[in-house]
């Protein structure tokens, strides 16, 4: 009896405890669903929008000494909707007929770009251990205990109250107002609504602004729960919200509310009961410590895999999306043979020169950066395979790379395995993980694959990394996850130049393999699947098998790259290199520069490691001016500009999925060939430029 009442009390406490965070999850989920319903954008940048409002609120309160009310008004009710309007107006409105995957990629780019842009513009930098206080005086210190089992802080009551008010307001809006009715109509069919004389654009802009208010509000409300105000935490938050929204199949607002509250309670329950069970059964102890933070990701993954209703949610797509011109074939296939030879000669000369300079003149720092760029190019080839060839967005490439790195660490640490052998084993393990992961999600559509891989990445991040046999547990926190440099016979690759040679060899072999695969049966099969899954099946291609193969290959490449990166840094450096948020930037870079070609991956690798050193720190100007002392005063530019530039670079993905490199290569080929033709036949009219749609400038 006593036991039962204790249990009941625990249950009640967990229930109440879960409500306030649940209310915030619900707010985000509702905002997310609102934007998705009215514009079909799977807005991963929602977390970034929440971050911006929270950061401005923090800045205004702490740095500028504003009162609560003005800070709240400006950050939530002014900045948030303004940001939403800008995104809708400048970007997503123009992507209406793009595929949902293209919109997702743009949203991922914005996730990377927006927080950095805000930081640079406002001059905000997160202070460790400091977050804003709530939006009510004494919010964290005054408690109320309405049911006698759990004491709510004022902040928590405020969060719940606001969630209720927002929900009621939204319900009233949909039910009683003209704009609500129009929003419901736009959800059904934007084109049809326009034919009835309603400006779908205006309705869509309104719902973006409204949904952004939800993001901002949730950001300000949740911020006190974090240790430090940092963008990655807010990105986690949006994944939690997606889990909540998935409960309502991304369509139902009341269910998204229920999903958010349910998730909050579920997490609280796990936090309440798991420790007690773990005390009784020591076997559960390691699980207890790690599972609770991973609950939302497990729930999301389980929902995606086990609940067919989510999978079959009709993708919001404009019926006119099919008429957009498909992406052109690779530029290298179209160019004339003379140009091919010229390109190759130039490439050889260029790389020999760079190589000569690097091996004779470069100091330790430059060698480090160049080696890093070569290794990252190798890792990025895994994105070339999964995104460029198979057309799938995977957000767990960092995890595959981390698996490679951790395997080398574990094998060499425990068994003294030779690092190179361990790297190969790591690649095989990563490949197996890729194949295993792809099995349950093989039926999911494009956007859902991205979300499922993201859930996997977060699960690995929250649980696996902390296990002793993966990330090394407690000891590695003290001494790092140390990885040795390999030796091959007489060569000690502890020498940086020798290691660069190894990195180059690995990159060249991987590139050749990727090119062979692209031109071979697998590449053709994947291209067919990307073109039409239905038609591919009708000629006997198994989509599931091809996808599993693509994931396995991609995992292998990422694994070998991750192992190389860990060997180079002689440490796995998980948080810095491979965490889900860090790896988002990989995808952004590769997609921005070109996900279809080896050149794209190589340039993305160079951009990742060298862009800051060469451009942002002004090295290139120093070189032009022949003295490092004469670098103009505007340098060094904040390294955050990397995220902004390449993040915004994804916007062109919708129109040019082949990436900037391919687009410009094609244009250069065409111009060169036109020029050559004119030179060969003086007087003859130049051939007309084929009408390829030019890149439309979306961002001024």
């Amino acid at each position: 009896m006593i036991f039962a009442s204790a249990l009941g009390e625990d249950l009640a406490r967990a229930l109440l405890q879960g409500m306030p965070p649940g209310a915030v999850y619900a707010l985000i989920a509702i905002g997310f669903v609102l934007a998705y319903k009215t514009s079909g954008v799977f807005n991963l940048a929602f977390g970034a929008q929440a971050y911006v409002s929270a950061a401005l609120y923090f800045q205004a309160r702490q740095e500028w000494d504003w009162g609560i009310l003005p800070a709240l008004l400006v950050s939530v009710f002014l900045l948030a909707p303004a940001l939403g309007l800008i995104l809708e107006r400048l970007i997503f409105r123009h992507l209406r007929t793009s595929s949902s995957v293209a919109k997702l990629v743009v949203a991922i780019g914005l996730t990377v770009a927006i927080p950095s842009l805000f930081d640079v513009v406002v001059g905000f930098s997160p202070v460790a251990g400091q977050t804003p206080t709530g939006i009510i005086p004494g919010g964290a210190n005054v408690f109320y205990q309405p049911f006698g089992v759990y004491a709510f802080s004022r902040d928590e009551l405020m969060a719940m109250g606001l969630a209720v008010v927002a929900m009621l307001g939204l319900a009233a809006l949909f039910r009683f107002s003209a704009i609500g009715l129009q929003m419901r109509a736009v959800v059904e069919s934007p084109r049809m609504t326009e034919l009835n004389g309603i400006q779908a654009d205006r309705v869509s802009a309104f719902s973006w602004a409204l949904s952004s208010v939800f993001a901002g509000l949730a950001g300000v409300l949740i911020a006190p729960r974090f240790n430090t105000l940092a963008a990655p935490d807010f990105f986690n938050l949006v994944v939690v919200a997606i889990a909540a929204a998935a409960v309502g199949r991304l369509m139902s607002l009341p269910r998204a509310l229920a999903g958010g509250l349910g998730l909050g309670v579920f997490i609280a329950l796990a936090n309440t009961f798991l420790p007690a069970w773990a005390e009784a059964h020591p076997i559960l102890a390691p699980i207890q410590e790690n599972v609770a933070p991973a609950v939302p990701f497990l729930v999301l993954f389980a929902l995606l895999v086990l609940w067919p209703a989510v999978r079959t949610t009709k993708e919001q797509a404009d019926p006119l999306s099919g008429v957009d011109p498909p992406p052109p074939s690779l530029a290298s296939r179209e160019r004339s043979s003379g140009l091919t030879v010229a390109t190759r000669v130039f490439a050889v000369v260029f790389f020999l020169t760079v190589g000569f300079v690097v091996f004779t003149r470069a100091d330790v720092n430059w060698l480090f950066l160049i080696t890093q760029s070569v290794i990252l190019s190798t890792i990025f080839l895994s994105i070339t395979v999964i995104t460029g060839l198979a057309g799938q967005i995977s957000l767990c490439q960092g995890t595959f790379a981390a698996i490679g790195g951790f395997t080398v660490f574990q094998l060499s640490d425990r068994y003294g395995t030779s690092a190179l052998v361990a790297a190969l084993i790591g690649a095989v393990v990563a490949s197996a993980c890729g194949a295993l992961l792809s099995l349950p999600i093989r039926r999911l559509g494009g956007v859902w694959v991205a979300i499922a891989t993201l859930a996997f990445a977060f699960f690995f991040d929250a649980v696996m990394v902390k296990l002793p046999w993966v990330g090394g547990g407690g000891t590695s926190l003290l001494q790092g996850t140390r990885v040795p440099r390999p030796t091959i016979g007489p060569w000690d690759l502890g020498d940086d130049k020798a290691f660069l040679v190894l990195a180059l060899v690995v990159f060249v072999i991987t590139s050749l393999a990727v090119i062979q695969i692209r031109e071979g049966t697998i590449g053709r099969t994947l291209r067919a699947l990307r073109g039409s899954e239905l038609a591919s099946q009708s000629i006997g291609i198994s989509p599931a098998r091809s996808r599993v193969l693509a994931f396995a290959l991609s995992g292998f490449i990422a694994g070998i790259g991750g192992a190389m990166l860990s060997m180079q840094q002689e440490n796995v450096n998980y948080t810095l290199n491979f965490s889900p948020f860090a790896a988002l930037f990989w995808l952004v870079l590769v997609v921005s520069l070109g996900s279809r070609t080896v050149e794209g991956a190589a340039q993305a690798g160079a951009a990742y490691a060298l862009f800051e050193a060469i451009v942002l720190r002004g090295a290139v100007f120093g070189w032009i001016l022949r003295s490092a002392d004469r670098i103009p005063g505007i340098f060094p530019i904040s390294p955050k500009w990397r995220f902004i530039i390449f993040g915004l670079g994804t916007i062109q993905f919708a129109r040019h999925p082949e990436g900037l490199v391919e687009f410009n290569t094609r244009r250069a080929h065409r111009r060169t060939e036109a020029l050559l033709a004119r030179l060969r036949r003086p007087g003859a009219a130049p051939p007309p430029e084929p009408d390829v749609p030019e890149a439309k400038e979306v961002v001024p």
Binding site: I517, I522, S532, I541
Partner: protein
């Protein structure tokens, strides 16, 4: 003689509403069979059950005497069910020849990761030759290296047929091949298909709205209405029957479907 394609007692319902009721249909070897019926009669549902895109609630699908009801789509394709699409489904970023090449490669099943990695995954002379034969047969030889985006709808349909032929089907399912084509194009397509079919001996199951096309092209036909077969037999006779005319063609005064 065993029919090449047979459905036995296929029933399918969506949320309790019957779309197909106990449909039995047979296509003999080398036969041209039509499947007609008004909109919503269940033609597409039946088609999808045969292809494996839908699982029937009851009944079975047989191919050359084998029960294929539980096989996935791509395995049915490998066993000899080829198809074309009502809304053409082509592979973007590929040329006409590449469409046929990939089908040929899959049929031969001689691609593997190792072959790709060793650079032996590129099309062989043999494969190219067999593609060119079919391309020439369809009158697409001139367009072989054109990107697919440059083709007209009629040419696109021919590419679909060519791609399906590369799998060496035993039965070819054609889903409204005349939709979007004008009269002349339809007639040309029908002529080409008939020649190929008589030459190579595969069977054809045709779903079609254009009654003239069905009348001219098929030997036998089935008529579906409200999910049940209401008539079957020689095409010319079936089209004369009053029950068919009423349900499908409408009376001379009544609205046309």
């Amino acid at each position: 003689m065993t029919p090449i394609l047979e459905t036995r007692g296929i029933s399918k319902s969506y949320a309790g509403i019957g779309a197909l009721r106990d449909v039995a249909l047979q296509v003999g070897e080398g036969e041209r069979v039509g499947l007609i019926g008004p909109n919503g009669a269940g033609k597409t549902t039946l088609f999808n059950c045969i292809l494996g895109l839908l699982v029937p609630n009851a009944g079975s699908v047989w191919l050359a005497g084998d029960n294929i009801t539980s096989l996935p789509v791509h395995q049915r394709a490998r066993r000899g069910i080829g198809r074309s699409f009502q809304r053409i489904e082509l592979f973007t970023e590929s040329t006409v020849r590449e469409h046929l090449l990939i089908a040929e490669r899959v049929r031969r099943g001689n691609g593997s990761l190792w072959k790709d990695l060793l650079g032996r995954g590129r099309p062989t002379a043999d494969e190219l030759r067999s593609c060119d034969v079919v391309l020439a047969r369809l009158g697409l030889a001139e367009l072989a290296d054109e990107p697919i985006e440059q083709l007209s709808l009629g040419q696109g349909r021919l590419v679909e047929v060519g791609r399906a032929l590369m799998t060496q089907p035993r039965v070819l399912l054609l889903d409204e091949p005349s939709s979007g084509l004008d009269r002349q194009e339809t007639a040309d397509l029908a002529a080409t298909l008939r020649e190929l079919q008589e030459e190579q001996g595969f069977a054809i199951l045709l779903v079609e709205h254009d009654v003239e096309f069905v009348a001219a092209f098929t030997q036998r036909c089935y008529v579906l209405d409200f999910g049940s077969l209401i008539a079957e037999g020689l095409t010319a006779e079936v089209l004369e029957r009053s029950i068919v005319r009423e349900s499908y063609l409408g009376t001379p005064e009544g609205p046309d479907t």
